[in-house]
């Protein structure tokens, strides 16, 4: 079972990740490698709730991630993982597809059958 700090540390090592944070769905920050985690934590919660509303309204089954795309290309991605939310600030010059693949791989390792293995 990975600790939150281990998980955040490993996500942060992925090429293309400038920083990240992991919060519980009640907003409690479990680990971060970026400044102002409280600001990002609020955005994580709001965006996760709204994406769920959109999902229900239109009849989709699962939101893999959402992304706030910026002119400076340092996009902010939100990944719902069971009762947790992972936020990632992307590096401007990264390969997004590669970064997403690695992030999904790591999420897959801690999240199986709806049970997230983070302590």
């Amino acid at each position: 079972m990975a600790t939150a700090k281990d998980f955040v540390g490993r996500i942060n090592q992925i090429d293309g990740v400038a920083g990240c944070l992991l919060v519980k769905d009640d907003g409690a920050v479990l680990g971060q490698t970026i400044n102002d985690p409280e600001v990002y934590s609020t955005l994580l919660q709001m965006s996760s709730n709204l994406s769920r509303e959109i999902m229900t309204s239109i009849g989709f089954s699962y939101c893999r991630h959402l992304s706030f795309n910026r002119i400076n290309m340092q996009n902010f991605c939100v990944f719902p993982i069971d009762n947790y939310l992972l936020g990632i600030v992307q590096k401007a010059d990264c390969s997004v597809a590669f970064m997403l693949e690695r992030v999904y791989q790591l999420i897959g390792k801690v999240s199986t059958s709806g049970e997230t293995k983070i302590s």
């Binding site: 600001v39 990002y40 955005l43 709001m46 965006s47 709204l50 994406s51 509303e53 959109i54 999902m55 309204s57 239109i58 009849g59 989709f60 089954s61 699962y62 939101c63 893999r64 991630h65 959402l66 992304s67 706030f68 795309n69 910026r70 002119i71 400076n72 902010f76």
Partner: protein, 213 residues
């Protein structure tokens, strides 16, 4: 206005687009009619809130993209309270659509928009959510059946399932004793015999587990 979003629909993988106003609701849409107007209105309102939340954190925000299992939704605010969004197959070319959004945005700024009637009817009565009339355990089963349909029909599965489910609920009490009727109606939507067999195979264990309790 419709010609501008029709240009978006030409992009491979784009199912359709919609322009929605926070005050007036849907301005124009070319999404298939299976996307009910009241649902698109709700989606538009939530996207406007999501965009505003993002804008508060990032003053250089351009688009918001939501990557669901079946589809991707890409949204751009054209001006305060007016948003365009496209629903796409997961394999769509995001760079191409973003560039098209840029062009559309420029056209909008130049005033090359004129309001036209919305292609989907707006004044339909909003029905009570289907989920409200179905018991919790049956709801779980239906979710699994819907998910299995996604493996057979792809991105449109969610909409097809919801339509059939709505009609099934209208036809009688939504309980397990009528589940075969629902499956037959889904079969009619799938059409292809091999896919029907595959779908029935996928849901057989789910149905057995439900019966065992």
């Amino acid at each position: 206005m419709i010609h501008l979003i029709d240009e978006l629909k030409v992009i491979p993988g784009v199912i359709g687009a919609c322009i929605v106003s926070s005050k007036e609701g849907i301005k124009v849409t070319n999404l298939p009619s299976i996307f009910k107007s009241e649902r698109l209105n709700l989606v538009g309102k939530h996207l406007l809130k999501l965009y505003s939340a993002g804008w508060m954190s990032f003053d250089d925000l351009t688009d918001v993209s939501l990557h669901f299992d079946e589809s991707v939704v890409l949204a751009r605010e054209l001006e305060k309270g007016l948003l365009v969004f496209a629903i796409c197959d997961p394999t769509f070319n995001q760079n191409l659509l973003t560039m098209s959004f840029n062009l559309l945005h420029e056209e909008f700024k130049l005033g090359n928009f004129s309001a036209v009637p919305v292609s989907a009817p707006l004044n339909e009565d909003v029905a009570a959510p289907v989920e409200a009339t179905i018991s919790g355990t049956l709801q779980d089963l239906l979710e699994e059946m819907k998910s299995a349909l996604g493996k057979v029909l792809g991105p449109m599965a969610g909409f097809v399932f919801d339509e059939v489910l709505e009609s099934w609920v209208e036809q009688g009490t939504p309980d397990f004793s009528r589940i075969e009727e629902l499956i037959k109606q889904i079969d009619q939507e799938i059409v292809d015999r091999d896919k029907i067999d595959h779908y029935r195979q996928l849901i057989s264990s789910v149905l057995q587990n439900f019966q065992k309790g």
